[in-house]
């Protein structure tokens, strides 16, 4: 059961549910080869139950799965083997966003944003759209990060040779 920042429950989910074979499963797999992940969603506004299938990322082969809240009470983030999907559980649509080689995703309920960390940069989803993307920020990943008073403090080898930086969580701009 997910509870968003506003305390309203809009959907529930179950990973790898039992299937009878009669269910209609929506595919979000982009035609990629690999073990599919099946998730059953139930949206409380539409009272609908539906199933979706997801494929893993192409270059990161791991079995890591996470279903993460977003600032939008109807939109869920599915993180599967280095790839993320932003899915509207009310309309059953996938948002046109193809972030791959994802290392970490976090829903920051204080600032009400979803932060997506890839090996080379950070993106921010505000519940409706991607509001900012850093582009190439890290050389090949980061070591550590923390969110403090509206800033994301990141440690790691940056593309400019520095080893630490601060990003404004609202704009994604580098703060010196």
């Amino acid at each position: 059961m997910n509870i968003n920042a506003h305390g309203k429950e809009n959907y529930s989910y179950k990973i790898n549910p039992e299937l009878t074979g009669l269910e209609k499963v929506l595919s979000f797999d982009d035609g990629e080869i690999g073990g599919r992940l099946i998730i059953k969603f139930k949206n409380f506004d539409s009272h609908s139950t539906w199933f979706a299938s997801f494929s893993p990322g192409k270059l990161i082969k791991s079995s890591s799965v996470a279903v993460i809240s977003t600032p939008n009470p109807n939109i869920v983030c599915v993180f599967y083997s280095g790839k993320i999907y932003l899915i509207n559980t009310l309309t059953t649509e996938k948002l046109s966003y193809k972030e791959q080689d994802v290392v970490d995703v976090i829903y920051d309920d204080i600032n009400n944003v979803l932060l997506i960390f890839t090996f080379v940069g950070v993106s921010c989803f505000d519940g409706n759209e991607i509001t900012w993307e850093t582009g190439r920020l890290f050389l090949d990943g980061f070591k550590n990060y923390q969110i403090l008073q509206g800033e994301i403090i990141i440690e790691g080898l940056l593309a400019n040779g520095e080893e630490r930086c601060k990003l404004d969580i609202r704009s994604g701009k580098l703060k010196l």
């Binding site: 192409k58 270059l59 791991s62 090996f119 050389l139 090949d140 080898l157 040779g161 080893e163």
Partner: protein
């Protein structure tokens, strides 16, 4: 400068390059040992062994070493080569990726650790590709890239890049190195496949 002086200078330069690598492998050994676990301990032992071999190598070359030090180092080096046989070839592959126009390319502790931490192909493409990137890739030289000074190493970054494909995904193979002061060794600091 006499021929002997030039020879001494050359030997000192080789010794410096080996010591730069020694420092990295000692750092790697310390990191691996601190992490714990059987695999890391073995990794730490291997890194320590490599550092020892290089240090011995440096002492043999270094004209500033005393006769006793040189004899001992030479003896240890001979012992290592003598007792390890074919294993020495394997260790050389881990340590030295390639050589081009007299420049040796050596994997740094950072690159080895990143490839161990991140099991994906992004950080673990084959060494044959690394050699191809070093030999055929575009080179961009960035001065003062590294902010922390290291003994025997410059602060310059040599950024080699080559377009390619992994599992049907187009991207760029990146190999970034940090050259030694003598220019005879480039320590590989970064290896990554970045998708387009």
């Amino acid at each position: 400068m006499s021929l002997l002086d030039r020879l001494k200078q050359e030997l000192a330069s080789i010794a410096d390059d080996n010591r730069a690598a020694v420092e990295y492998f000692e750092e790697l050994q310390q990191y691996a040992n601190n992490k714990g676990g059987v695999v890391n301990k073995v990794g730490g032992f291997a890194a320590g062994l490599l550092a020892g071999i290089l240090e011995n190598n440096a002492k043999v070359y270094d004209p500033a070493s005393t006769e006793a030090e040189r004899s001992l180092a030479f003896g240890l080096l001979a012992l290592d080569v003598g007792t390890r046989g074919g294993g020495a070839v394997g260790r050389k592959t881990v340590l030295q990726v390639g050589e081009k126009a007299g420049v040796k390319y050596i994997n740094s502790a950072r690159v080895l650790l990143r490839s161990a931490e991140e099991s994906s192909v992004l950080h673990n493409f084959p060494e044959q590709i690394t050699k191809k990137v070093l030999n055929e890739g575009n080179l961009q030289i960035i001065n003062d890239f590294w902010k922390t000074s290291r003994n025997h190493l410059t602060n310059t970054s040599h950024n080699y890049s080559l377009r390619g494909t992994i599992n049907g995904v187009d991207g760029i193979f990146e190999v970034f190195t940090r050259p030694s002061i003598s220019g005879k060794v480039e320590l590989i600091m970064h290896k990554f496949f970045r998708r387009n």
